[in-house]
Amino acid sequence: MARIGVFICWCGENIARTVDIEKATAEVAKIPGVRCAINYKYMCSDPGQAMVREKIQREKLQGVVVASCSPHMHLKTFRAAAKTAGLNPYLVEMANVREHCSWVHHDKEKATEKAIGLIRMTVGKVLRNRALDPIKVPLTKRALVIGGGVAGIQAALDIADAGCEVVLVEREPSIGGKMAGLSETFPTLDCSQCILTPRMVETGQHPNIKLYSYSEIESVEGFVGNFKVTIRKKARYIDIDKCTGCGECWTKCPSKKTPSEFDYGLANRTAIYMPFPQAVPARPVIDKDACIKFKTGKCGLCLKRCQAGAINFEDEDKLITEEVGAIVTAAGYQLYDIGKDQPNAKLSGYGEYGYGEYADVITSLQFERLSSASGPTSGEIKRPSDGETPKKVVFVSCVGSRDNAKGISYCSKICCMYTAKHTMLYKHKVHDGEAHVFYMDIRAGGKNYEEFVRRAIEQDGAIYHRGRVSKITRENGKLIVRGADTLVGEPVTIEADMVVLAAAMRPAVGVLELAQKLKLGYDEFGFLSESHPKLRPVETNTAGIYICGACQAPKDIPRPWRRRRRRRAKCW
C-alpha cells in the first residue's frame, strides 16, 4: 500500500466556513493509499509547512496531497517544503478546495462532498506520479527588454550594470517613452527630464546595451534561457552611424505641417525630424507619409544638405535575429481615446466632453506638454485655440476610468495625483487663474501623496468639486462645463477657458499582439498578467519572461523604479 499524506488547510475561515474540515479529514483518511490525513488552520504558514515536513519524514511518505488553494498559488511552496524533507517535489500535488470549492459553493454538505472528491482525485494522481529530476540546459546570458520608456530603460540599465548584455527594443525613433514628455513629477515637483535624460544617455552609451530604436518585435521562438527573437528594424531612411545629428536636414525640411507625436498634436514637426531635442539616439527619422520626396519624387533638400551622406531614401525594413535568455516586457501604456471613434468595440467615446471638437478641451498628457519647459509654449500655459492664457481651467478626473457603461471599470491610479500636480503647475504659472477640479474620490495613497493634494487645495487654492462632469459645450468662446457638486447637492456650471481631461490609462497599442507573440496572459483590459500578484509579481506564466511598468497595470513612476530591483534579482 502506498504511503500518501493528505494535508487539509482551513485557509483561516476561507475553506473551513464552507467545507466540514473534520469530516473531510476523516473521510480522506479512508482512501486506499492514504497513510495519514491531518488539517491545520494555515497550511502554507511556517508551522503548517513544518507539519508537512515532519509527516514526510516520520511516516516515510511517498506522496503528498495538500488540499487548499489553487496550485497556481502555492504548489511551489509545498513542493519546496517537501524537497527540504527529502521527498521529490513532483510527488506533491494540490487539491484546489478553495477557488474551486469553498469559494464557489454555499451548501456545506455538497461542498464537503466535493472537497472529498477533489482530494480523492488528487490522491489518485499522486499515486501515479513519478519522481522527476530537473534537467540542465545551456542558457544565453543575455536579456531582451521590450520598450524603452522609464521602466524599460531602468530594467535595461539594471541588467546591464549587473554585467549581462541587454538588447533594448523601442518602436519609436527615440527611447524615453511617456516620461520624456512630462513636465514636473509628483510628489516632488522635480523636473522629469532632469531625472530621465541622463539615464537615456547612459542607456544609449552603455557598453552592455544594444539599442534598437524604431524597431519592433516580429516574432519570438524558443524557451527560457534560449529565446530566438526576430526584430523588425523599421526603415528610418537615415544611416544613424553616418548621421551626426547636426540638424541641417530638419531645419531645412519644407514639409512642416505634420502634428508632432511628441507634443500630442499641440505643435507641428517637419517630415524629417527628431522627436525631441534630447532624443536617444539623437538621430532624425523620415516620416514617409509626410515627405515630399516620397510623395512627389521632387524635393530631396535634406539629401543635398546632409554633409555626412546619411540620408538614404532606398532604406528598407530589416529583420534581425537576436538570441537571449530572458525577456523583460515594458511595453507601456496609452491614454484612453476620449474622442468619438474607438478602436475597441467594447469602448465608446465621450462625445459629451467635446474632445476633438473643441480645441481647448485637452488631455492630461497634452497639458504636460503645455506646462513643460521643452513644450511648444516653452512652459507657458496658453490655450491651444488662440494662444490666450486661460483664466479658468477645469480639470476632470476619471475620464474613461471607473466607468462600466462605456469606459473601463478600473481606477487609473495616477490621475488624482497628476491632476493635483496640474492645478499646482497651473497656479504657479497663472497666479490669478482659477483651477477647478471635478473628482469622485481622491486616491492619494503613497509617501507624501496626501500631503501633496492637500497642498494643491490649501496652499495653491485649487477648487475641488465632488462630482462628475456631465457635459461640456461651448458658447461665446467659453467652455460651459456642467457637472454636479454632490457635497452641496446641486448642479454646477462653470464657464471655463480650458478643460483638461484626466483620461484613463490603457495598455499601449500593440500590447495584445505582443502578448500573443510572447504567449503571455492578459486580463480583460489587455494588461499583461503576472504569475501571481503577490508571490510572483514580475514573472509571467511563461518561464523566462518578465513584465514591468504600465503594461501590467496603471502605475506611477516610482513603481517601476521599485519593481526593477526584484526583476533584476529574478533574471539571473
Binding site: S70, P71, H72, V104, M121, Q516, K519, G521, D523
Partner: protein, 146 residues
C-alpha cells in the same frame, strides 16, 4: 435543485492549466457561485487532451464532459488549441456517427479573465445535463460489460 429522482449529474471538465483553470480560479476569487457537479481535471493544454479521456469519462459514469482551454491566439504553447480545435471537429463527427448523445459533450474557450463565463458555462451545462438525465445508453453498455 435536484428533481424528484434525486438525480445529480456528474460532469467532468478537462481544462488547460493556463486559461480555463485560471478562469475557474478567478470565479473562485470573485466568489461566483455555481453548482458543485463539475470535477475539474487540470491538463497542460487542450492540445494535450487525449480523446480517450472523453470515452473513459463516460465509461466511468459521467453524464457530460467539458473540454475548455484558451481562446484562439492565446495558447501558452503557441498553437495547442488550434490543433485541438481541428481534432475535436473530427472527433465529434466520429462520435456523432457512433450515435453518442452530442449534447453531453461541451467545448468552450474560457480565458483566465473570464471567471464570469466559467460560472455561466458550468451552470448552464449542469442545468442542461440535469434536464437530459443520466446517460443511460452508455451506462447500459458499461453494465453489460461487467
Amino acid at each position: 435543485m435536484s428533481d424528484a429522482t434525486g438525480f445529480e449529474p456528474k460532469i467532468v471538465a478537462y481544462v488547460c492549466n493556463w486559461c480555463t483553470y485560471l478562469g475557474a480560479d478567478l470565479a473562485g476569487t470573485n466568489r461566483l457561485e455555481y453548482p458543485p457537479n463539475v470535477r475539474i481535471v487540470r491538463l497542460p493544454c487542450t492540445g494535450r487532451i487525449d480523446f480517450n479521456l472523453l470515452i473513459k469519462t463516460f465509461e466511468m459514469g459521467a453524464d457530460a464532459v467539458i473540454v475548455s482551454g484558451c481562446h484562439p491566439g492565446d495558447c501558452h504553447y503557441t498553437a495547442g488549441n488550434y490543433h485541438a480545435r481541428r481534432r475535436w471537429t473530427m472527433f465529434r463527427e466520429l462520435l456523432d456517427t457512433l450515435g453518442f448523445e452530442m449534447d453531453r459533450i461541451h467545448f468552450a474557450w474560457i480565458s483566465a479573465a473570464e471567471g464570469k463565463k466559467f460560472q455561466q458555462f458550468i451552470t448552464e451545462t449542469t442545468e442542461k445535463t440535469r434536464a437530459l438525465g443520466p446517460y443511460t445508453a452508455y451506462r447500459e453498455i458499461c453494465e453489460a460489460s461487467r
